[in-house]
């Protein structure tokens, strides 16, 4: 297998279309104008020695190692900063260059420790490689002079005194170390932090020989502004910044390219292995979603895969109060099959169902819905997209005809105005945020619509032109007011609308939004957004060039989520911002495969490819293949399943990789539903919260342990590749298959590729997708079929998928969840960078050093009124329930609004949230809850009881001794 070696061209690629030919060491090479001599040489296969250059960042020209001679020019210019000129004749290796390079290298090594054999970077060190490349044989300067290498130095009287230049190793970051004594001050880390990540957490302090890399203001990494994305570690050419896992294990020996299993960005990584031990995850430069970048989760937070709490054996228990009993796989499958059959016999065919996972692969999701449709013979399948982006599917489907984002991530490089609504990509989609920030630093303008002053609103070198800090729950009013301005001020794109949309529908919509009661001045009264801000934002979006909208759960998780999505679609159609690079409507999907799980027919009313179950032709396709008659009635959604369970008509459920008890709203209702069921089967890595109510636990496998595909937010189908054998013995798709076999189904997939072949054969938008094709293409974006053989980076290029774009009236209807004297504040929820979703994975990694508990953000004014100080325990009460957590006083939130995250089970923010939901899709209204906040003495009684209950329901019986 070996390591996947990526060529480092030294400087970024030029995007010019004019080609230039030069001669390097006698070879002709043709490259785009603007390419550096260094990159051109590398293209010709000639590698010029270098230290400060790497192709992820711009040329810097500081190491003086990449010098070349150019005929007709004086001196020895650095090849990284010299652009090619037609006819240029370059020599990369001459006597003069050899001397110079050796001399420079000698100086570097004179202030660098000679501990190569025991250095963690041994074998993976560019300094070492360059010493070899230039033929360094001797360092004449010795180590007695001033240096940064030794903690003690020789004093005037030949005694040993502390070396003031020496800085000890910084081990504060849990994932990597910074050893200043090995630093050659090439600035690669500083530039990576600035140019790639956009955090600007690093600098070079001092000057001359005093120059040192400094996180923050001479702080350690953990205290500084560092977000631990790992870009600096990747950029470091020495052992100065190195992963702790490499220090512990050693350098990797093989690597497999795979796809990250955290958020919907879908970054490509090289999983670098030694034997079956994962040494590190390194972002893959050819990954089209991330282009070689990463965040703290994907890069470092994989420790959960080998966490001690991971369950590796199937378990059964009669009652949820019993301890778990470990059983064989066969026993577990037989038990589930007989229980499900018994329940269906007793209560009817509709009495069982299942939930697919947005964390699992497309193939696994497809199999779970197939099991339910073919094996259970009903449509009782749903997925966690219900609670996040179901309004996106519905809203965009109605307006455009496809239930997905319109662009690829590269598109943002062509945007002039970016509007971010109800999303905080810097925390939840950090790699995309970095790419967006890069564009913003180039001059694109930013509009943020969010109740909270997120990192996107203001962070170094990024500042939103307009921040519309609306009251939670008033999205529709604000979005419609934007349309009001665009229509009444005549800023709409008439040619686009006439050509691509239905003009009479536009006229109807224009009349609707023009109503003075939808003007910014009117909506200001209840949204809290100054009318001038709305007008300014509307004008900027409509007239500022390519306008792109990115939105998140702050849009969808409302009682009017679907309406807001349609309102957003209307904005794009009004301004003609759809169907080309740099524009579009882009949902930022939360989970790695939430797009895929929706595509794969996880909804109770849809077969794979968003085709309604009542469509005869589609049912026929599957009936012929699966050999059973399929139900044409939509099945139950998650909330309906729980309702039916409480009523007594729904008795069994198979839940793959989702923790509905923690992630779904109104925890008490969820637990009542689960408790009412007779056979709850949880298929997961850990005994999650839902598993407390389970009768059967099937251990799951991680993304490292299986083959498959994930589909990210840009509809990109990325390969997930197995890098190690499943620790639990079976990949998730095998578990579902064996369960299906136990239920009497004739399934014989030998590999997930065969599942993908079945998907391609039955689903037109996937027609050309196969593992072989993905191998060849790297990745493709659906639709990928005869009409679009290379996939579709941007949809609706030559017309909307549904024919004409549809304008839909977006009447603002205030949510029923209202503040009043008892609950005067509005709670809204979100995420933070280091934790992911319910935290099942990230809480089991070192990421807890950044966020070990959920806190309540509250405005100083509200805090003062209630006598709350920073760090105090506070009680958070809503109509649904109460919990306690610590307060953080900040003006990031407006007065009247409080904010928290839902990463930790002992806070259980969803005890607070209500069961209001989107009118069209039942997506819960997580983002608006009327609450009261008051001082508290500590965790509530409920939370203490919960700890005990949690322990009780997670007991595993010790194995009986063998006879």
């Amino acid at each position: 297998m070996g390591l996947v070696q990526e060529i480092d061209y030294g400087t970024p690629a030029s995007k010019s279309e004019n080609m230039v030919t030069i001669t390097v060491d006698g070879f002709d090479v043709t490259v785009p104008e603007g390419t550096s001599v260094m990159r051109a040489s590398m293209e010709a296969g000639i590698s010029i020695p270098k230290l400060c250059a790497t192709d992820m960042v711009d040329a810097f020209g500081s190491c003086r190692l990449c010098l070349v001679e150019i005929e007709g020019r004086n001196g020895t210019p650095s090849s990284c900063t010299t652009p090619v000129v037609p006819g240029m004749v370059v020599h990369t290796q001459t006597g003069r260059l050899k001397d110079l390079r050796r001399g420079v290298m000698e100086l570097y090594i004179s202030d660098h420790p000679l501990d190569c054999l025991t250095c963690a970077a041994n074998g993976d060190c560019e300094l070492q490689d360059m010493a070899g490349a230039v033929g360094l044989r001797d360092v004449r300067y010795g180590y007695d002079g001033e240096n940064h290498v030794f903690a003690k130095t020789r004093g005037a009287l030949n005694d040993s005194v502390a070396n003031i230049r020496y800085m000890p190793k910084d081990e504060s970051n849990p994932y990597f170390t910074y050893d200043p004594s090995k630093c050659i001050v090439c600035s690669r880390c500083v530039r990576a932090c600035e140019e790639v990540q956009g955090t600007f957490a690093l600098t070079i302090e001092g000057r001359g020989f005093d120059s040192r890399v400094s996180p923050g203001m001479h702080q350690n990494f953990l205290e500084s502004e560092c977000v631990s994305c790992g870009a600096c570690v990747q950029a470091c050419p020495t052992g100065t910044l190195v992963e702790k896992s490499v220090i512990e294990i050693g350098v990797p020996e093989r690597s497999v390219v795979t796809t990250c299993a955290y958020c919907g960005v879908g970054c490509s990584f090289k999983a670098e292995m030694r034997g079956d031990e994962l040494v590190r995850m390194v972002p893959y430069k050819d990954g089209k979603a991330n282009r070689g970048h990463s965040c703290v989760k994907g890069r470092f937070a994989y420790g959960y895969a080998s966490h001690k709490e991971r369950i590796l054996n199937p378990m059964i228990r009669e009652k949820i109060t019993d301890p778990w009993r470990e059983v064989t796989w066969e026993e577990a499958f037989a038990h589930v099959a007989s229980e499900f059959r018994r329940i269906q016999y007793q209560y009817g065919r509709e009495a069982i169902g299942g939930i697919t996972s947005s964390r699992c692969t497309n193939e696994e999701t497809y199999l779970v819905q197939k099991l339910i449709r073919q094996g259970f013979r009903n449509n009782n399948v749903d997925t966690c997209a219900r609670v996040c982006h179901s309004p996106t599917g519905y809203g965009l489907g109605q307006a455009f005809g496809t239930s997905a984002g319109t662009q690829d991530f590269d598109s943002v490089e062509h945007s002039d105005v970016v509007m971010v609504i109800g999303a905080n990509p810097a925390a939840a989609h950090p790699v995309f945020a970095s790419r967006m920030k890069k564009r913003l630093r180039q001059g694109a303008k930013l509009i943020v619509i969010d109740p909270r002053r997120t990192e996107m609103v203001k962070s170094p070198h990024v500042e939103a032109e307009h921040h519309l800090a609306l009251r939670p729950g008033t999205n529709v009013a604000v979005v419609t007011a934007l349309a009001h301005v665009i229509v009444t001020e005549g800023l709409f794109d008439e040619a686009f609308i006439r050509e691509r949309c239905d003009w009479s529908e536009f006229e109807d919509y224009a009349e609707f939004v023009s109503d003075p009661k939808r003007s910014p001045e009117e909506v200001e009264k209840f949204t809290g957004v100054p009318a001038e801000e709305i007008r300014g934002a509307a004008r900027l979006y409509a007239t500022g060039g390519n306008g792109a909208i990115y939105y998140g759960l702050g849009v969808t998780e409302h009682s009017q989520g679907s309406t807001t999505v349609m309102g957003i679609a209307n904005l794009a159609m009004l301004t003609g911002n759809i169907g080309r690079k740099g524009v579009g409507v882009n949902p930022l999907r939360g989970q790695n495969n939430v797009q895929g799980s929706c595509d794969m027919g996880s909804f109770p009313h849809e077969f794979p490819g968003y085709r309604h179950v009542s469509t005869d032709a589609v049912r026929e396709t599957f009936e012929k293949l699966w050999g059973v008659e399929l139900s044409d009635e939509p099945g139950l959604r998650i909330p309906n399943m729980l309702d039916a369970a409480v009523e007594g008509s729904f008795r069994g459920i198979y839940i793959q990789g989702e923790d509905i008890l923690q992630s779904d709203p109104d925890t008490k209702h969820v637990s009542a539903g689960l408790a009412a069921m007779e056979c709850v089967v949880v298929h997961d890595l850990f005994l999650n919260e839902t598993a407390r109510f389970a009768h059967v636990f099937l251990p799951g496998s991680t993304f490292l342990e299986k083959d498959g595909t994930f589909t990210n937010a840009e509809r990109r189908i990325n390969r997930v590749r197995k890098v190690m054998a499943p620790k639990n013995g079976l990949a998730d798709w095998e578990v579902t298959q064996k369960l299906a076999q136990a239920m009497g189904l004739d399934w014989n997939y030998a590999h997930p590729s065969q599942v993908m072949d079945e998907i391609a054969a039955t689903t037109p938008s996937f027609a050309k997708v196969s593992y072989e094709y993905l191998e060849q293409m790297g990745s493709v974006q659906w639709p990928c079929n005869e009409a679009a053989p290379e996939g579709t980076p941007i949809v609706h290029m030559d017309g909307f998928v549904r024919g004409k774009g549809k304008f839909i009236r977006t009447e603002y209807v205030p949510t029923d969840e209202k503040t009043g004297p008892r609950f005067p504040l509005l709670l809204t929820t979100g995420r933070i960078l280091s934790q992911y979703n319910v935290g099942a994975q990230t809480r089991r990694t070192e990421n807890v050093v950044w966020h070990d508990e959920d806190v309540l953000e509250i405005h100083p004014h509200d805090a003062e009124q209630r006598g709350i100080r920073e760090g105090d325990w506070v009680r958070l009460t809503s109509r649904a329930g109460e919990t306690t957590l610590r307060a953080q006083i900040t003006d990031r939130v407006a007065p009247g609004v409080v904010y928290t995250t839902f990463h930790h089970p002992d806070t259980q923010a969803n005890v607070i949230t209500t069961d209001f939901s989107d009118w069209a899709t039942n997506c819960p209204e997580y983002k608006v809850t009327a609450v009261q906040v008051g001082p508290s003495n500590g965790p509530s009684e409920w939370q203490r009881d919960y700890q005990e209950l949690s322990r009780q329901t997670r007991r595993i019986a010790p194995l009986e001794a063998a006879e």
Partner: protein, 159 residues
């Protein structure tokens, strides 16, 4: 509490200075000059305020402040004496001048006398090579330093 009051005061004053200058093109250096003028040094507490106001990272401001030796990180003495240590002055005996002054004042470079009278600093070229060895006392240049001049300087700063 006094410490705290002081640092809030510094932050407030810094913000006022930044407000006045942030419209300039490349405002960071002028702001730092103005702050040094105001406080006699660049207080650490000023840096995050500057970063916030200019929308820079803390690291960037730190990088700039530490790059320029003229930005003082602690309050100086009542007088600041800079002795040129560049090539021309060295060739004219600036080392001996520096040694003598250090001995007379009882401090080294980058140090301030215990009574807070004077801070001694090296400087690399005052452009007075024709009158080397040269020095600068509180912004006034002094050329052709010999023992008499040294005594005069020391007497002046001790006043």
């Amino acid at each position: 509490m006094i410490m705290q009051a002081q640092s809030t005061e510094i932050a407030t004053q810094t913000r006022a200075i930044v407000e006045g200058l942030k419209g300039l093109e490349g405002p960071l250096l002028p702001i730092l000059h103005e702050i040094q003028e105001e406080f006699g040094y660049v207080p650490q507490e000023s840096l995050p305020v500057i970063a916030d106001e200019l929308n820079l990272s803390n690291a960037e401001v730190h990088g700039v402040v530490t790059f320029y030796h003229d930005y003082r990180r602690q309050p100086a003495g009542r007088h600041v004496l800079k002795l040129c240590q560049a090539e021309a002055c060295q060739s004219m005996g600036s080392d001996a001048v520096a040694d003598r002054i250090k001995r007379l004042l009882g401090i080294g470079f980058h140090e301030t006398t215990l009574d807070g009278a004077v801070t001694l600093e090296p400087v690399y070229c005052l452009g007075l090579c024709a009158c080397a060895p040269a020095a600068m006392l509180d912004g006034e240049v002094i050329g052709s330093i010999d023992e008499n001049v040294i005594d005069e300087i020391v007497a002046e700063v001790r006043k």
